[in-house]
Structure formats: structure tokens, C-alpha cells
């Protein structure tokens, strides 16, 4: 129980009469990678927004390291060590890697002068920690020169510098090629090796299958399936399950239109 960092208990979220989440329980253990799957509108992003404190749940309990928290909000979430990396708009692309990592929390001496050497050294360390190193770029390289996967590396390095225990990656590989996805996976493995947890949101099952220790599949505001990686022999099993959900939904919508006609 001590290893459980985040525990969301029976969370609901309703907008008027519409339930976005209808009683979801979601945990993050220390050092694990959780693959959060589901179709568009399944409730993934609502759940993540509640986790990062941007959206308040209608009901339910939030526990951090076993302690119930009150007045959960974005600042509390950050204090608790939860860092969300959104796909776009996270980085200043005309600036160096160093400047992005230390954005808003520059290492400085008296009167605000930057300790450039110390920042560079620290950036080197963070980049090495997640295996984000290469012969073609250095901490002084401009982020705009990096590939999509490498940019995720900058965002992850920045999250680690903030001493996050849980890093939430919102569709980090959606727009990326296979080699770029492999780079992001490499970073994620290094982050896990350092004892931090990751919540990986995606809808490409193959992407999530290779990296996650546990899968949570959501459907229409509920957890439809929760399985450890060891319980799922092949990615195809997950795909079949999700296709089953999709078929059910499709059938449901067909009968709806049938009733209307």
C-alpha cells in the first residue's frame, strides 16, 4: 500500500445530466507504466484532467500516498509530484534545450543572473538519466532542430527536473513515426528504471502494448478492462477486446436509429 502513489476512488464527473465518468477507480503504483486506452470520448482525458487537477470531480475520493486529499487542484497535483506533458504547445521551439528545461525555474545567482554552466551540467545529467543523448545535439541545441520524439524527450526531461513522481504523457506518440516512437519508449523505460511512474495515454494498442506494465481500457466513462501485462499474452487479445467494445457500440447506435425510424 505504501507503494501506491495515486489512488482515485469511485470518481464520477457529470456535466448536467451527462456523465463523462461514471464511477472510475484508477491507481498508479510506484515505478509502473500504466497504459490508458480507449476510444475518443471514452473518458480518458477527463480522467487525466482530474488527475492533474484541472477538472474537479463531481464525486469520489483522491488519495495521494495513502492520504486522502481535500481541495484538489492543479497546484496541489503538482505539489504531489504529478506532471502532465501535453503533446503540443509544451515547448518554446526557437530556444535551446537548456532554456526549455529550466523555463520558469532558472538556476540563478544573486540578482537573477543565470548560472549557465550549472544549468548545462544539470541538463546533461537529466538527459543522460532518460537516455536522451546523441552525437548530433547538445543541451545548447535549438529544440526546433529536434525530431518529434526528441522533443518529447525535452518535455520528459523537464518533467523529471520538477521532481515528478508520476509523469502523465498525453498521446506522446500519436504524430510520430516508428523510429520516433521507439525513441520515446526508450526515454519512458529510463524514467521507469529511475523509480518514477508513467501514465501513458494512447489509442494505438501496439504502441501501448510494448511499454505498459498494466492496461486500463476505458469505455463510455467506465473502466471496461484492467489487466496486468503478464495476463495478456498478445496485443491481438487487447485489440479483439476493444473491437468487441466498438462492435457493441456500433450495434447500439444502429438500434437507436432503428428505433427513431
Amino acid at each position: 500500500m505504501a507503494a501506491r502513489i495515486v489512488e482515485l476512488r469511485n470518481i464520477t464527473k457529470s456535466y448536467g445530466n451527462v456523465y463523462a465518468l461514471g464511477g472510475v477507480t484508477f491507481n498508479v503504483e510506484k515505478g509502473e507504466v500504466v497504459g490508458l486506452l480507449g476510444d475518443n470520448g471514452a473518458g480518458k482525458s477527463t480522467l487525466i484532467k482530474i488527475l492533474s487537477g484541472v477538472v474537479r470531480p463531481t464525486s469520489g475520493e483522491i488519495l495521494i500516498r495513502g492520504e486522502p486529499v481535500a481541495n484538489w487542484n492543479a497546484a496541489r497535483s503538482r505539489e504531489a509530484g504529478i506532471e502532465t506533458v501535453f503533446q503540443d504547445r509544451a515547448l518554446a521551439v526557437q530556444q535551446s534545450i537548456v532554456r526549455n528545461i529550466f523555463m520558469g525555474r532558472e538556476i540563478r545567482s544573486r540578482f537573477g543572473w543565470l548560472k549557465v554552466k550549472e544549468e548545462t551540467r544539470e541538463a546533461h545529467r537529466l538527459m543522460r538519466e532518460i537516455g536522451f543523448t546523441s552525437k548530433v545535439f547538445s543541451p545548447h541545441s535549438i529544440v526546433g532542430q529536434l525530431s518529434g520524439g526528441e522533443r518529447q524527450g525535452v518535455a520528459i526531461a523537464r518533467a523529471i527536473y520538477k521532481e515528478a513522481d508520476v509523469i502523465v504523457l498525453d498521446e506522446p506518440t500519436t504524430a510520430l513515426s516508428l523510429t520516433e516512437t521507439a525513441k520515446v519508449f526508450h526515454f519512458i523505460r529510463q524514467v521507469r528504471a529511475s523509480g518514477r511512474s508513467i501514465v501513458f495515454i494512447g489509442h494505438n494498442i501496439h504502441h501501448v502494448f510494448d511499454i505498459a506494465d498494466r492496461f486500463v481500457v476505458m469505455d463510455r466513462g467506465k473502466v471496461a478492462l484492467e489487466k496486468a501485462r503478464s495476463e495478456v499474452p498478445r496485443a491481438e487479445d487487447l485489440i479483439e477486446f476493444m473491437e468487441g467494445i466498438a462492435r457493441l457500440k456500433h450495434a447500439g447506435s444502429l438500434s437507436d436509429t432503428g428505433a427513431a425510424a
Binding site: A90, A92, Q94, E106, L114, G131, V143, D210
Partner: protein, 339 residues
């Protein structure tokens, strides 16, 4: 699916990547200002070949060095404004207003240093007002500062009834000797202006304020998400612009021993041109202080150079424009915009 399972171990050989070699990094980091320097040197070479007799006399250079400092005090802060993704067209009126404060204090018999302090205060307050208006009024800085320029200039004319102020005793003061006399043939104000430019460059590149100006101009959403008070940073750059314009007003008044109601007006276009000729792009996020200074040098030499090269004054405007356009084309080729 094994194909995407691992990226393989990236290796690091410290100091071996190209971006880490000092000379190469220096060139990469300063490509814009080095480009501006190349343009300046090329222009001077052409002038020198066209009329070596004129361009080898020191007098030509002292006349430029007398007036260039005034522009430099405004070019450096304007780079901050443009890098932050804003623009300011109100600095000429701020310069006039701050110069007026200086002139009033000196005219009343106080020490010119006290006058300079009053001017600096006036400049910062006016800059703050402009910044607050633009940022909290959520106005376009282009239009709002244009309006402020007219309004402040109008206020100057109303207050002074468009009369100039002559400061005949200024030349005897310690402030004059320290700030704008001539030592060994060099107008001393250029030393102060260069000191200001170097300070501004450090502030821009090696200070928290400069770092935040960069990211705010680059990606305000991201800066905000990372806890930077974007609006505060924007107001600060306008205040800094006001400070620079105030120094320009003090030096201009000191050099001429006179404050004119039009003081500052002639600087609007040359200062703007200097920033862009110097290699600061219009889109925000990056900029170069030293490039701006070299741009100011280029702009102030165009006029002197063309007349000195034996062409009639009618050519000045044409070549002014030509150099600006050629510089922009050069910088366009020299730097990429990352998105």
C-alpha cells in the same frame, strides 16, 4: 512489433558533437549579428573604395560617434520588445518627455545628475503606463503605442507651448564632462552607450529576465504553463524601453545644450530599422543586442557615407531603403524560423 521496442543505446561522447565546439557554437549562436557585421563591413569597403580621401579622415567618424549613442540607448531595449513579440512606436515621445524633465530640473538650477534621475524616473513611469495599457487593455502594441506616441508628443507641445529650452550652463557641469565631453578625440558618450549595450546583452542572454523574454515571445502558452507571469514580463520590457528612451533624451539634450519640443521624433524610423537590419526577426522569441548595435552603426553610416562618397543627398533615402531590404534578405537566408 519488435521493431519499435527499443531505440538502442544512444552513446554520448562529451565535447564531440558539433554544437559543443566553442568556435562553431559561437558562430551558430551569433550568426545574425555576424551577418549584420558582414553587411556593415561590406558597405564601408564600398564607401572606402568610392572615396578613400573622405573615409580615411577621423572627422567623419567623430560626427557619427557623437549622434550614434542616442540611438543605441533605444535600439537595445527595442530588441527586448521585439523578442517578446511586441513592438513599440512610442519611444520617441518618451525620449522627448524624459528630456523635458531633465531640462526642467537643470533649468531650475539643480545638478544635471539629479536631472538625469528625474528623466530616468519619467521614462520608466511612461514605459510602465504604455506597457500596462497594452498588456492589461489587451491592445495591439502596434496601434496602441502609435496612439501613445501622438498623445505624449501632443502633451509635450501643450505643456511647453512648443518652445525649446536652452541650457547654457550645462557645459560647465561635472555631469557634462563625465557623460558627453570629448576625450582624446573620442566623444565620451559612445563609451557610455557601449557600456549600456553590453549590459543589455548580458541582461538579454544571461539573466532570468532575458530568458523569460525569450520564452514569452516564443511560446506564451508554454511560458504560462511553466509558471511565468507572462503579462508581468511584457510590462517589464516596455518599462525597460522607457528607461532606455530616457537615457537617450538626457544624452541628446546634453550633446546639444538644448532641449527641443521635437526631440526624439527623428529617431523612430532609424531605431526601428537598426533593430531589424541587425538581425532580430519580427516574429518574436529571438533577437540580438549586438546585431542591433551593428545595425545602428550601419544605419547611421549610410547617410554620412553616401554624401561622403560624392553622391548628392537625393540618393540617401534610396540607399537607406536598399540597405534595409538587402539586410532583411540576407537574414532571411541566414536564419530559419522553427515551429
Amino acid at each position: 512489433m519488435t521493431g519499435i521496442s527499443d531505440a538502442g543505446e544512444h552513446t554520448i561522447a562529451a565535447g564531440s558533437h558539433p554544437a559543443e565546439r566553442p568556435l562553431r557554437r559561437f558562430i551558430l549562436d551569433n550568426r545574425a549579428s555576424l551577418g549584420s557585421l558582414a553587411v556593415f563591413l561590406l558597405m564601408m569597403t564600398i564607401f572606402l573604395i568610392a572615396n578613400p580621401r573622405v573615409f580615411l579622415t577621423w572627422n567623419l567618424y567623430t560626427s557619427v560617434l557623437t549622434t550614434l549613442p542616442v540611438a543605441l540607448f533605444m535600439v537595445a531595449p527595442l530588441v527586448f520588445i521585439v523578442a517578446a513579440g511586441e513592438i513599440d512606436l512610442s519611444f520617441p515621445a518618451t525620449m522627448g518627455f524624459a528630456g523635458l524633465a531633465f531640462a526642467y530640473v537643470v533649468q531650475a538650477g539643480f545638478d544635471p545628475f539629479l536631472g538625469a534621475l528625474a528623466a530616468a524616473l519619467t521614462g520608466v513611469v511612461l514605459g510602465l503606463l504604455v506597457g500596462l495599457l497594452v498588456v492589461y487593455g489587451n491592445l495591439s502594441s502596434l496601434v496602441a503605442t502609435l496612439g501613445m506616441n501622438f498623445m505624449l508628443r501632443g502633451l509635450i507641445l501643450i505643456i511647453t507651448q512648443s518652445k525649446s529650452i536652452a541650457l547654457v550652463t550645462l557645459g560647465d557641469s561635472l555631469a557634462y564632462r563625465l557623460l558627453s565631453s570629448t576625450v582624446a578625440g573620442i566623444p565620451i558618450q559612445i563609451v557610455w552607450a557601449l557600456a549600456f549595450v553590453i549590459f543589455a546583452a548580458f541582461l538579454f542572454n544571461r539573466h532570468r529576465f532575458g530568458a523569460q523574454v525569450h520564452v514569452v515571445g516564443d511560446n506564451p502558452d508554454s511560458a504560462n504553463e511553466m509558471g511565468i507571469d507572462v503579462r508581468r514580463v511584457r510590462v517589464k520590457v516596455f518599462a525597460f524601453m522607457g528607461f532606455g528612451a530616457a537615457l537617450a533624451g538626457v544624452f541628446s539634450t546634453m550633446i546639444n545644450f538644448t532641449w527641443w519640443p521635437t526631440s526624439g521624433d527623428g529617431y523612430l524610423l532609424p531605431v526601428l530599422a537598426s533593430v531589424f537590419v541587425g538581425g532580430t526577426p519580427t516574429w518574436g522569441g529571438i533577437g540580438t543586442i549586438f546585431g542591433g548595435a551593428i545595425g545602428a552603426l550601419t544605419v547611421s553610416f549610410i547617410q554620412t557615407g553616401i554624401v561622403g562618397a560624392g553622391l548628392s543627398g537625393f540618393y540617401v533615402q534610396f540607399f537607406n531603403g536598399l540597405i534595409i531590404i538587402l539586410s532583411l534578405l540576407g537574414h532571411r537566408w541566414n536564419q530559419v524560423r522553427y515551429r
